[in-house]
Amino acid sequence: MKKLKLATVWLDGCSGCHMSLLDIDTAIIALVRKVDIVYGPLVDAQEFPEEVDVTLVEGAVSTKEDVDKLQHIRQHTKLLVSLGDCAVTGNVSGLRNVVPVNKLLQRVYVEGADEGGCIPNQDLPQLAKFARPAQDFVKVDVCLPGCPPSSKIIAGFLNTAVEGRKPEANQKIKFG
């Protein structure tokens, strides 16, 4: 049987959803017999592959770089999944949306410094005005909410994907 090509991506999130993926524990040993992890923070692949079956996106979209990355991923992914509340709604990453970006940077890097006291801007991505969910920018095929989604939900979804079935709409999910 051909292995499923799986990519995972972190945008503006805390990595908790990736941890929940690892929380399948030793089931990962069985999983990697059916799934190739072709891209993501856990492997050393440097470029997003041309054709990926499933991509799990964790985190909100917070910079222009995030948008570019997400659009590139969309073009090369059959099934794009928003993994966790930040990707689905913006969640805690979106709490900053009530604060103007310059005020936020001013507080952290100027008022919050004993030395230097400048806003970092040399060769760095610029923070967008808002942290927004993935579906504001690309078509999302599946949403797995939760902060984080439980490892059971993630494993359950991956199993349906491996078998080429559609994810069941009646599975137990929760936000937060």
Binding site: W10, L11, V43, D44, S62, R107, G112
Partner: protein
Amino acid sequence: MKRITIEPVSRIEGHAKITIQLDDAGKVADTQFQVTQVRGFEKFTEGRPFYEMPGITSRICGICPISHQLASSKACDAIMSVRIPHTAQLLREIIHCGQIVQSHALSFFYLSAPDLLLGMDADPAVRNVVGVIEANPELARAGIELRKFGLLVIEGLAEERVHPSWIVPGGVKSPMTVQTRDRILAGIPQAMATTEKTLGIFKSTLDSFSEEIANFGSIPTMYAGLVDRAGNLQFYDGVVRFRSATGDIVHEGVSPERYSDYIGEATMRNSFMKAPFYKPLGYAQGSYRVGPLARLNVADALGTPRADAELQIFRQRFGRMAHSAFLYHYARLIEVLYALECLKILLLEPHVLDTHVRANAGVNALEGVGIVEAPRGTLIHHYKVDDNGAIVWANLIVSTGHNNRAIGDSVRQVSEHFIHGDHLEEGMLNRVSAVVRAYDPCLSCSTHAFGVPAVEISLVAPNGDLLDRLRSK
């Protein structure tokens, strides 16, 4: 001048970029380590009720949420001016030990074992946790089980593994059941056996990494970490001791509420990660490191028999003050032993099953500081509130931040040693990434941000022509 960029660095917890400048002779002239995201928790928490802070700041990091919840709740305890019940303190310490075990196991088995077991020059296509599973299934399984054991402690007490809401201002939400205690106790021998075995394997490979040990950020710096009155290592509570590179105690113990007299923060134009420094020595001289290696250097002893025996072996080999960042891996394994031994002692405490686990109070102080040793080092939460308990000001100094400049210096040292001329090899680039990995940096924490790792290195001629580019397949 030629420029090499590694962006982003892989198998680390966060989004970073490394730039290496070569001079005309092909030697390293300059290096930069940059962190490329920011989230702004200090600002957007203004106006929120203080008791929400453990839940919100937990979302800074999905790897060590428990550490944030603990530091945050300790700051809230101070705002409420309560001394939490003895049993609550025991339970917080127990869950913290679980956190140390799971986080260190993640760093060692999932992120760094590919370099350590398969080799720095191994094919990047297999140089990952799946490669480790294939090469040494027994060890991989044991490592996964060890992480799972740490999480069993967390899940057993707090019901969830990531971002539970059990640690609260004033203590913890619910007592421990006898079943939970017994289940954790029953798992300790296996976890100890795995750790001892891994430590043995790691020690037996040390000779083959002598070049890395000598050149992986082998830089004398000051160190900081929490100790108790006896000078032993503490993860949950204590004072911050600073020790010099030569082993002298620079400050015996800074109490949490006075941290800002001793720790300053510098902003750098090219990174979203701030650089803390030891204020009495100023920015230029005040660089220090935190985390597992720093803790072993700072403490007089660990305070449990097995861990102290290993600490003695470690010090016999590398001296009283060990400076190579490569040894963070070694220190991490010794700390797992320590955490497991502590866990057993704590679980057998006479009052550990008592049901008084939470103190209730309103706002009784307008300011509070909480400090813990997170897996990656000293973590500081500092809040100010108004009379209604709404946050008016917050500051967070997180573990990896303290190591900011040391990581930068380590990248430079590794680059100078391993990168020559205008031809690039993948193994060179992986070593530069691996020194960052040795610190197990949580860049998610340090900028309260997170990102996507991958690696690209390019050599650019002075006129901007691309001389060479290296990417893994």
